[in-house]
Symmetry: C2
Subunit: 130 residues, 2 copies
């Protein structure tokens, strides 16, 4: 096991939160989770690989949509329990809703309001389901 | 209880991860955690209030250091389980190490390497301990 991997303060489930920030705009695209294998694979492949908590498996970002994230740098915070990826977002769409990023809701007068447009309909990204 | 608070997908501990991003530079400063009271207090006060998991209490960011975060906007992600704050960082120091931000380590050739300077020694921020 690589020493740098063991320096991460993995939680009791063996996970760490990972923020993806777009390198050329500075926009925070999403927050996902990684386990050791996801982080190691991310470094080795140069593409973001997360741990899907809902599907309980490695999730190569963009595996279905083609919207991969090319990883330019990996940062760790002071107490080693959060990771920040600087990425180049393929297709300009990080969110499964077809928006540029997942943080498209903003609190306005007591309501979470969608403030960013759908760039591509999810059906045309993922194909219509049966 | 406010409806918008209940729309957040709180985890089994009643917490949600909250990313603080500096509004004028776009830099990701830190990731911390919030419970309902922290998020509600953040909205009401206009200053970032987190839940300290180590101290198990509300943590008004900057309560000791003076390095408060003025909150300009609060975003939520597509599946409602991560919050993004756009903040103005008082004193230009978000990290308890005296650096601008907590994500000051970068993975370089298999080592987490500090790549950002200490702007102010922690002793002069928090006072020397006895």
């Amino acid at each position: 096991m690589s020493a740098w991997l063991e320096e991460v303060a993995w939680n009791e489930e063996g996970l760490v939160p990972a923020i993806a920030q777009e390198v050329h705009t500075g926009q925070v695209l999403m927050l996902a989770w990684m386990n050791r294998e996801a982080l190691e694979t991310t470094l080795q492949s140069g593409h973001a690989v997360y741990w899907s908590r809902s599907r309980q498996r490695l999730w190569h970002k963009g595996e279905q949509s083609g919207h991969e994230q090319v990883v330019k740098a990996i940062h760790l915070d002071c107490d080693h329990d959060a990771v920040l990826l600087l990425v180049e977002q393929k297709g300009d769409i990080a969110c499964h809703t077809g928006r540029h990023r997942c943080f498209f809701k903003r609190l306005e007068k007591g309501n979470w309001t969608s403030v960013e447009p759908v760039l591509k309909h999810p059906n045309s990204i993922y194909g219509k389901s049966g």
